[in-house]
Amino acid sequence: MTVLELTNVSKSFGALQVTDDVSFSVPRGQALGIIGPNGAGKSTLFNLITGNILPDAGAITLLGRDVTRSPAMDRVRMGVGRSFQIPQPFEGLTSFENLLAAAAYGQNKREAEVADQCVAILRDTELLPKANQLAGTLSLLDRKRLELARAMATGPELLLLDEIAGGLTEGECQALVATIKGLHGRGVTIIWIEHVLHALNSVVERLLVLDFGRVIGIGEPETIMASREVREIYLGMDV
């Protein structure tokens, strides 16, 4: 079964075409990585999928339902969880409360029903010691963790991760990868934008390359990474 399908989706801001006739689909349970240079339109693609912005043309189908014009909130409740590239915590709430809000509203349940889940997610993302700390006072690593944790708390069928590993040390990165692998193992469909390629490639089964808003390659990570075009555009050199 297909969780997400984009058909000829385009979006431009003024003269700038940020998403150019993008089509792809993601089967249930798959982990798809998205790579591409900065400014290639990766985050815009996420915003289109989550409904934070609406496309100029094309269609987006989620779990078999056309959601092209649906508001962000409906898509969350259908099971789309997302993290933001620049963490956007609710700064006046604690880590725990950030998760409570996400779980209670994302799953449309009472706080008491989701509290245990939130504790479990805090534990999985190693945020438990900071459960009662205001999110506004967290370090970058913890903010990144909170982004992931909050997205998980909405109970997603499809999890969108936006550069969650950037700026972390190798050890921190490995811990994060383990968490994401765990989620993936539980059958959550994942789309992950990431520059840290070794982290990305240790999780995803398929890789999509975006440049100037266009899909210039999609397929198995080995094949994609071996492509000359991708190497030149994305890496700029042989690393």
Partner: protein, 236 residues
């Protein structure tokens, strides 16, 4: 003798989050220095600290020996340090020509750069001088951003990620202007993710990881292995 610009144990933080941990670097007149490193290494934070967008302790940054760490951005520019910011940041309400003019509005400096000279360097901008800056292609916008910074005739030009999001052929065009810029005697700091490019244009490189400088070396005799280790850390 003091350097044109130097940082001494420079630290920076956003709220609780520390982004730089004691960065030492320097650049001398006429030099070209490249700063490389992965996303999140602190390169942009370093640029923002030097240009006064982020405040530091005064003596953490010296310009010709004078502490400037606590000066606001507008006074830094007036001392002859101009920046081409990441993402170009043209003013959408201003035309191409106005974007250029505003670069030299406060400080004209003494030197070669004027509107005509910028148009000579990037002829396409003259054709499009009445368009809104944001109606241009990415590469043309980058030319405006560079021209805008040059209009103040800076002693030191800081270029933050000028090749980001641009096609290789466009990047080549933009880098082609660098020798002309350096010929005026200006020192240049470029922040670049494209290591190969950085090694070609720079005299020296600094490699950053996690808010620290992990390698500094003359560009011509640095090994790929050394860069790789400095770039990704020992574990990679």
């Amino acid at each position: 003798m003091s350097h044109l610009l130097s940082t001494h144990g420079l630290t920076a933080q956003y709220g609780q989050f520390k982004a730089l941990f004691g960065v030492d670097l320097h650049i001398d007149p006429g030099e070209c220095v490249a700063i490389i490193g992965a996303n999140g290494a602190g390169k942009s934070t370093l640029m923002r600290s030097i240009t006064g967008v982020l405040k530091s302790a005064p003596e953490m940054i010296l310009h010709n020996g004078t502490p400037i760490g606590a000066l606001p951005a507008d006074q830094i520019l007036q001392r002859g340090l101009a920046m081409v910011p990441e993402g170009r940041r043209l003013f959408p309400s201003l035309s191409v020509e106005e974007n250029l003019l505003i670069g030299g509005q406060i400080r004209k400096g003494s030197g070669r750069w004027s509107l005509d000279e910028i148009y000579a360097l990037f002829p396409i901008l003259k054709e499009r001088r009445h368009s809104p800056g944001t109606a241009l292609s990415g590469g043309q916008q980058q030319m405006v951003a560079i021209g805008r910074a040059l209009m103040s005739n800076p002693e030191l030009l800081l270029c933050d990620e000028i090749s980001l999001g641009l096609a290789p052929v466009v990047i080549r065009d933009i880098y082609a202007a660098l020798p002309t810029i350096r010929a005026t005697g200006a020192a240049v700091i470029i922040v670049e993710q494209d290591i190969a490019r950085a090694l070609i244009v720079a005299d020296r490189i600094y490699c950053m990881m996690e808010g620290r400088v992990t390698l500094t070396a003359p560009a011509k005799d640095v090994s790929r292995e050394a860069i790789h280790a400095a770039y990704f850390g020992a574990a990679a």
